[in-house]
Amino acid sequence: MDNKIILLVEDNPDDEALTKRALKQNQILNQMITARDGAEALDWLFGTGRHAGRDLSVMPTVILLDLKLPKIDGLEVLQRIRSDPRTKLLPVVVLTSSKEEQDLAQSYTLGANSYMRKPVDFAQFADAIKHLGLYWLVLNEPPPTLAH
């Protein structure tokens, strides 16, 4: 479980801090990479831009993807992930404040594995993060190419 990486694509540092806190509270201590916007997330995943030369054999076990992001929004990031053979099987959990039907529909259409709405109440949020971490990092078997 230790070598499993979480990629958190989140522009709000508060939400990042709260997510980290919730994970920590639930003893999920895996490495977490944070991308502040869609472009950075894609750079990291494909080893381009600021992350040129990154070891691409290291891929996240799960991507927590916010939808409303600067530069490139979450839905486009998802689409790019799914259209590249290197990343197309990565589990992507959409983690967003939006409850709009169109977001739900588009996310699943583009191949999101899960869609979770961030509750305002921290207790609920922490609970959700706990379940999410446990499921994707512990219970879920990752796709074959990513098995280490």
Binding site: N12, D14, D15, A17, L18, R21, L67, K68, T96, S97, S98, K99, E100, K118, P119, V120, D121, F122, A123, F125
Partner: protein, 704 residues
């Protein structure tokens, strides 16, 4: 208890956009001018009767004076026509209507009295003494004048009728009036008295006919005030209006065409009859001339035979006998011819009965003369006696022939006169018919042009409306998009800081619990509570905007079943509550399933919530009939509310109870109202504090 009502629906302001076509604007003045002229003619004639001035009674010297009753009728009809204008007040309209009715009554009474053969009638009430002592007197209202008044009165009465068919009949009656009057005028111009007078009755006066034409044309040019419903542009949806206009135009054209066709046929029949009479008159004329020739032949035959015999007696030459025989043959043949030609004339036949033997005897007498001359030679005494006898016979025959000729000549004279008159009538009918057809075509053209102008205006108006609509639709769509973007960012961006507030407050409470006193912890808990409530407010607000968004379906819904489901879910949420629920079965309505579900969620949820402090809580869902409409009702015996605040009931974020009493964001009833509006229904409530509340609503399925 009072009732608050929230009705939906928009008042549609109607605006009269009609403007007259500038090119035809002057026509609007013709109708009142015709009305004025008619009243003026009537007044002048009445002045003429009052002061016994024949020039004013008959306008043109040597013509029939207008009856004073006709003059009064023209004044009334003129007023009635004037009252047909659009701007007339209701009182004037009614007065005009009454005037038209009086005119019709006068015409009808006069016609009836003609029909039953009474001479005395309403036309002799005024100036009854003077009527006897005027030219062409005693003066009466002519039968055709009375008929024209009846027709015109009916046309005036039908002119404003709601029904198009009545107005069309009115137009037809006006055209008949014009026809009768035009024929009379042409009769005067042409000297064909059969066109302006009927039989031996008083004829229609020339200025009477002229005033009829003026009045009728004035009426034709007066717009139908009620015809706006056909050609109007100020109400109804655009499409339907265009159709109505097209229909009206088509009817106008069809009517004009039918009327022209009818007129052509009528003129054709009249012309044919007139020409047939003309031809018959010519034939009779020829016949009489032939007869006169035959009579002349008979007379000259007798004379020639006589002179032939006389010459033979004196000279004894056979040559003269040949002359005699030829002339005798001519006389005999002519006699037969005359008899045949006068077979239809008994008086001539009687004369022939006398003449025949006379001719025979005369010819016998001549034969005796010839025989005695041949047998005995010239015997002066004997022949003189024979000649004397013959002279007597000849005189009698001549007298009879002269009588016959005289009768035929007088017949010829009268037949020539008749021929003359039928020629004039024929020409009159053809000119009058053509003139009327011309008027009719002109009028049809005017009506069609007017209707087409109105149609163009309406179409332009519809186009403008459509443009406005398109603009509005585009603006609405843009506004909707903006709203969606707004609620999207609200849902996303407004919640994130709340999460931070709540999350970090909880972090402080957890991580620094030992450093905070009870007050500090309480403050932080309040911060968390506020963040939580704001989160719910945002969610409710989004729900409010979302519930009526999207496509609206229309299905028959079992409201009873939906209500049962909603209450079962509420019961599941709070299984320990004991509520007496009554749901009437079989309540159905047309509506959008998602919205109606949200509607009942809110109303029944409210009932559930506000009865939470009642030990014997009751919730009822039923339907009642009010003013013939099915009204649905959610009733509870909960906290109720003060009707003084009922105007706030359906407002967004408006609450009538303290937060500590009952939780809520004040969005539920706002949502209810939005859904009701989308369904074209109404919602209102009755309540009393601590006695409960009843919410009524309707769903107008036709608008769904």
């Amino acid at each position: 208890m009072t009732t608050v009502e929230h009705t939906t629906g928009t008042a549609v302001g109607s605006e009269d956009r009609r403007t007259a076509t500038p090119a035809l604007a002057w026509l609007a003045y013709l109708s009142p001018a015709a009305a004025l002229l008619s009243a003026t003619v009537g007044s002048i004639v009445l002045v003429g009767w009052t002061f016994s001035m024949p020039r004013l009674m008959s306008m043109l010297p040597g013509l029939v004076p207008m009856n004073p009753a006709s003059a009064v009728c023209f004044i009334l009809a003129g007023f009635s026509l004037w009252s047909r204008r659009r701007a007339a007040s209701p009182l004037i309209c009614r007065a005009g209507w009454a005037c038209a009715a009086i005119v019709g009554l006068v015409g009808l009474l006069r016609l009836l009295s003609y029909a039953v053969g009474w001479d005395w009638c309403i036309d002799q009430v005024l100036y009854s003494e003077k009527l006897q002592h005027v030219a062409f007197g005693p003066n009466r209202m002519a039968p055709n004048t009375a008929l024209n008044f009846l027709l015109l009165s009916a046309a005036l009465l039908f002119w404003n009728n709601r029904l198009l068919v009545m107005r069309r009949i009115g137009t037809g009656l006006v055209l008949l009036t014009i026809l009768a009057s035009l024929l009379a005028i042409i009769g005067y111009i042409n000297g064909a008295n059969s066109l302006y007078g009927i039989g031996s009755f008083m004829p229609m006066a020339l200025h009477t006919a002229g005033t009829f034409v003026v009045l009728s044309v004035g009426l034709l040019l007066a717009e139908h005030p009620t015809a706006d419903s056909d050609i109007g542009v100020d109400d109804g949806p655009g499409k339907g209006r265009g159709r109505a206009r097209r229909g009206s135009l088509e009817r106008s054209i069809a009517f004009g065409f039918a009327a022209a066709l009818f007129m052509s046929v009528a003129v054709g029949v009249a012309a044919f009859m007139s020409i047939a009479r003309f031809a018959a008159d010519i034939q009779w004329n020829d016949h009489t001339r032939d007869l006169l020739l035959s009579i002349g032949d008979l007379a000259s035959g007798l004379k020639d035979a006589e002179s032939g015999v006389r010459a033979f007696v004196i000279s004894g030459e056979e040559e003269h006998l040949r002359h005699y025989r030829a002339a005798a043959d001519v006389a005999t043949a002519s006699l037969k011819e005359v008899r045949a030609q006068t077979i239809d004339n008994p008086s001539q036949q009687r004369r022939l009965d006398d003449l025949g033997p006379l001719v025979d005897r005369r010819l016998t007498n001549l034969r005796f003369t010839i025989e005695s001359r041949q047998a005995r030679g010239f015997d002066p005494a004997h022949h003189a006696a024979l000649a004397r006898e013959g002279e007597g016979l000849m005189d009698a025959a001549r007298a009879l022939l002269a009588q016959m000729r005289g009768e035929e000549e007088s017949l010829l004279k009268s037949r020539s006169a008749s021929l003359d008159s039928s020629t004039r009538t024929t020409v009159g009918v053809i000119i009058g018919g053509s003139g009327l057809a011309f008027v009719l075509v002109g009028f049809s053209g005017f009506v069609i042009r007017r209707d087409m102008g109105a149609r163009d205006r309406a179409e332009r108006h519809v186009r403008e409306l459509n443009q406005h609509l398109d603009q509005h639709a585009a603006q609405l769509e843009a506004a909707n998009k903006e709203l969606e973007a707004f609620s999207y960012s609200v849902s996303h961006d407004l919640r994130a800081p709340l999460r931070s507030i709540d999350g970090f407050s909880k972090a402080i409470l957890e991580d620094y619990a030992d450093k905070l006193d009870a007050d500090g912890k309480d403050h932080l808990r309040r911060v968390c509570g506020a963040a939580d409530r704001m989160g719910r407010l945002i969610d409710d607000m989004l729900n409010l905007s979302r519930v009526t968004r999207g496509e609206q379906r229309s299905e028959t819904l079992d409201l009873s079943a939906i209500a049962r489901t909603v209450l079962a879910e509420l019961k599941n949420g709070q299984p320990d509550r004991c509520v007496d629920v009554t749901i009437d079965g079989g309540i159905t309505a047309e509506g959008d399933p998602r919205m109606v579900r949200a509607l009942l969620d809110n109303l029944l949820g409210n009932a559930w919530k506000f009865t939470s402090k009642r030990p014997n809580a009751r919730i009822e869902f039923s339907s009642v009939e009010m003013d013939g409409q099915c009204v649905f009702r959610v009733r509870d015996n909960g906290a109720g509310f003060d009707m003084a605040y009922s105007n706030k009931l359906f407002g967004t974020f408006q609450r009538l109870h303290a937060m500590e009493e009952f939780s809520g964001t004040g969005v539920g009833l706002a949502t209810v109202k939005r859904i009701i509006i989308r369904h074209g229904g109404r919602v209102w409530a009755e309540a009393e504090v601590d006695k409960g509340a009843t919410f009524y609503f309707t769903l107008n399925s036709s608008k769904v």
